[in-house]
Each structure stands twice: as structure tokens, then as C-alpha cells.
Symmetry: C2
Subunit: 242 residues, 2 copies
């Protein structure tokens, strides 16, 4: 017997059922806590067997979109807060609806030391795009960020105005590079004279130093960022699990 009587497309039945439920949630028709159709109802509605309806719901449960309670039913799960999410400076500030811009201090091609090249898994003599920006939110300097990328692939970045635009956005739009995750090393340091002046803090003031290697969805190290954050204006929040 064929999968459906009126076939034609390629989407499995259980995925069609999931899509239908997702749509009802996205449309606001179903809110957190509301009951979703039961397995038996879904089976009748979509003319599939119980196992297929069950499969659809089981996956949605695993995704965290619904909760299932034996004897009771299937319910839309409350929205989950996402922890340890990699967000750009622009996105973080937008969440707090703060006016934000950057002052580009440098943007060019450099021959850098072996350390940064190694972090990007590039050959020892590779040249790099180097962008240094002072990050400003609510008219106060927040952070000093130095970004490094392979010049071979991202030389065009030096011609993009990055004072108002998110680097993440430019990489996605103009270079078709989607970022996936970042490995970060976090420690504390003190402001040297030049940094202190730029960030408008006393020399010797404590700074949070975050060194990120950011990887694309293809698993390639795309971006190395050294960030110095004013500790009086910045707290990093993370959640760790046992």
C-alpha cells in the first residue's frame, strides 16, 4: 500500500502533523498550557494510524514544544528561555532597547602573530582582516573589540561601514557565512593607559576579557574576537548544568 492515497509531495505524514500543530501555536491559536489534539484525535483528523500520530507528538515533546502527561493529555509547553546563547553586541543591546553604535578605530589588512592565525586554523603567514571597534551603548563606551578574519576570504569587509551594522549580519548577508557557536576564554585584566582612555575609565580599572573563536555552521573557525568589557557596565550571565 502506498503511504497515502492522494500522494504527490514528499513530506512524511508525521511531519505534516507536526507542521499543522506548529502553525496553530505560531498563529496564537494554541497558547502555553493549552491542550493539543490527543493521539487518537490526530489519527482520525489526518487519517493515519495511532503510531504515526504518536510519533509526531513524541518528537515535538523531545523538542520541548509540548509536554505530555499520561492519563491527562498533551499540552503546549511554556516558552523556554535560551541560555548561553551567542548573540552579537547589536542584538544584546536591542534586547534592552538601548541606542547603540560603534566607532571603528581600525579596519584593514595586517600580518599578525602566530597565535591568532593558529586560532583560525590558517597557515602561519596568512594575512588577516583586522577591525578594532569601540562599542558604545547609551552614549557610554562599553567595550573595545578587536576582530580578526582570514583576509583571503573576507578582505571585502574593510570596505563595509561597520559603525552602525552588526558584523554577524554582514557576514551572513554579504559573505553567506552563518555562525554557529563560539568557544570563549574568559578572565580578568586591568586597563592599560590606551584602553582606559578609550573606555573612559581609570587606568588600572578591572576589565572582563573575553577571547572568542567563532565557528560557522560548517565547523570552520571564521572569526577571532578579543573583547575588553568595562566591568562596571557589563556582567556575563551563563547557566551551567551538572
Amino acid at each position: 500500500m502506498s503511504t497515502t492515497t492522494e500522494n504527490g509531495n514528499a513530506l512524511p505524514a508525521y511531519q505534516r502533523i507536526q507542521a499543522a500543530i506548529r502553525e496553530r501555536i505560531d498563529a496564537g491559536e494554541l497558547k502555553p498550557g493549552d491542550a493539543v489534539d490527543s493521539e487518537r484525535e490526530l489519527a482520525k483528523l489526518h487519517r493515519v494510524s495511532l503510531m504515526t500520530a504518536r510519533h509526531a507528538l513524541a518528537e515535538l515533546q523531545h523538542e520541548g514544544l509540548v509536554e505530555r502527561r499520561r492519563g491527562s493529555g498533551t499540552f503546549v509547553a511554556p516558552p523556554k528561555i535560551e541560555f548561553n546563547k551567542l548573540t552579537s553586541f547589536t542584538e544584546q543591546m536591542a534586547l534592552r532597547s538601548l541606542p547603540v553604535h560603534s566607532k571603528v578605530l581600525h579596519a584593514g589588512i595586517v600580518e599578525s602573530g602566530p597565535e591568532i592565525v593558529a586560532r583560525l586554523s590558517l597557515p602561519p603567514m596568512a594575512s588577516l582582516v583586522f577591525i578594532e571597534r569601540l562599542r558604545i551603548g547609551a552614549n557610554e563606551p562599553f567595550a573595545l573589540e578587536s576582530c580578526y578574519l582570514s583576509a583571503a576570504e573576507y578582505a571585502g569587509l574593510t570596505r563595509v561601514a561597520l559603525n552602525m551594522t552588526s558584523l554577524f549580519e554582514v557576514l551572513q548577508r554579504d559573505f553567506n557565512t552563518d555562525l554557529a557557536y563560539a568557544d570563549e576564554e574568559i578572565d580578568a585584566t586591568v586597563a592599560d593607559p590606551k584602553t582606559a582612555d578609550l573606555l573612559d575609565i581609570p587606568r588600572g580599572a578591572p576589565l572582563l576579557r573575553i577571547r572568542q573563536t567563532i565557528f560557522s555552521t560548517q565547523g570552520k573557525a571564521v572569526l577571532y574576537v578579543l573583547g575588553l568589557y568595562r566591568s562596571d557596565r557589563h556582567t556575563l550571565r551563563i547557566r551551567r548544568f551538572r
Copy 2:
């Protein structure tokens, strides 16, 4: 038809199959990359239907224990590195096989300010167990940690020798408290004179400050920890996802 012919226990068939596979992996009989029995083999071996064998493998795949490739088979997945894992100081040092101990500076009951009480979701006048420890690894002071817990529940902690023992372990063993996750606030500060002396660093040296609220598996805030880490001996590593 009954679930099995020779029933008696309560474990579902698919979980017995999973357990059998897990055992073979734990025993080293199956290594990463090795092929696991196919659905059909498992079905015959355990005398269950294909769907049941399939269910067992599908869950193991979702857990990340095995990888399944259509047309090819099911294989033991390479071990995954766990990121952002909540580990005790003792566990971290054990990973680097460094000799480790602690010097208990204080251990007693205190009436603390409103902030810490609030972080533990306790009534305003609640008294707290306060334990201050200097953490020492490789014969060098690493960090200064102040722990706070509800005195009503954990008063017995003041009588436990915590200079060589992990607090996490004591909570689990003696208080039946399993920890699940921690919300952490991370910033930078400078060493005050007392802290500088204890950590054997210059006054004004940068410190990584981590404030943790640690929750039990029941979702209760159990422990508040204020940690000051020598930035020349400590780097926090995390991975963040987009």
C-alpha cells in the same frame, strides 16, 4: 497478547534493549565507530517486533550515544565533550590531576544581608550557613570562595571537615541534595588588601568574580557562592551556541 511470554519485571522491552547496548559500550566491547546490531538483528535477538527494536535505537540516537545512517547501519557515536558543565573545584582539579586542598577560613552560622537571602529565596530574617574557603591547587592559592546555605536545612555542614572534601559530595551523601544547574554572573574586580594577602597577589591585581546560585534537581536554590579567582591562574572556558 502479553508484553512478553516470561514476564515478571517492570522494565519495558525497548529499555532492556537499550540497557544491553549501553552495557556492551561501557564494557568496551563496542567502541566509537563500531556497528551496533541492526534493527532486525535486535528484533530477533530480543524476540520483539521491528518497531520496538527501532524505538530503542531511535532513543539512543537522540541521546547521542549512537549514530544511524540509512542504508548503512547504526554505529557507536564518538564520545562528546561536555561544555558548560557545572563541576566542583575538586572535580576540575582532579581532571588535571593536580593535588588540591582547601583552607577553611570560616564555618558557622550568620545573619546575612537581604541580598544573599533573596538569592536563595529564603525569608528576610533567615540565618545562613557561611563557609569561606581558600582553594589551593598545586600548592598555590587559586581562589577564595564564600558559600551560603539555608541554616534551617544545612546547619550540620558546620561540623563537616571541608578542607579535603568536595562540598558537592557532602551535599549529596549527607543531605541527599543533588545539584542540577547554576546561574552565574561573571565580571572582573580588583583584589582588596585582605583578599590580595590570602591569594598571595599584589593589591589591585585583577580577579575574576563569579557569583553562582546553584539549584537542586528539585529546582530549589540551595547554594550561593561568591568566588574570586586569580586571573593569572584561572581562565573560564565556555561554549555558546547561536
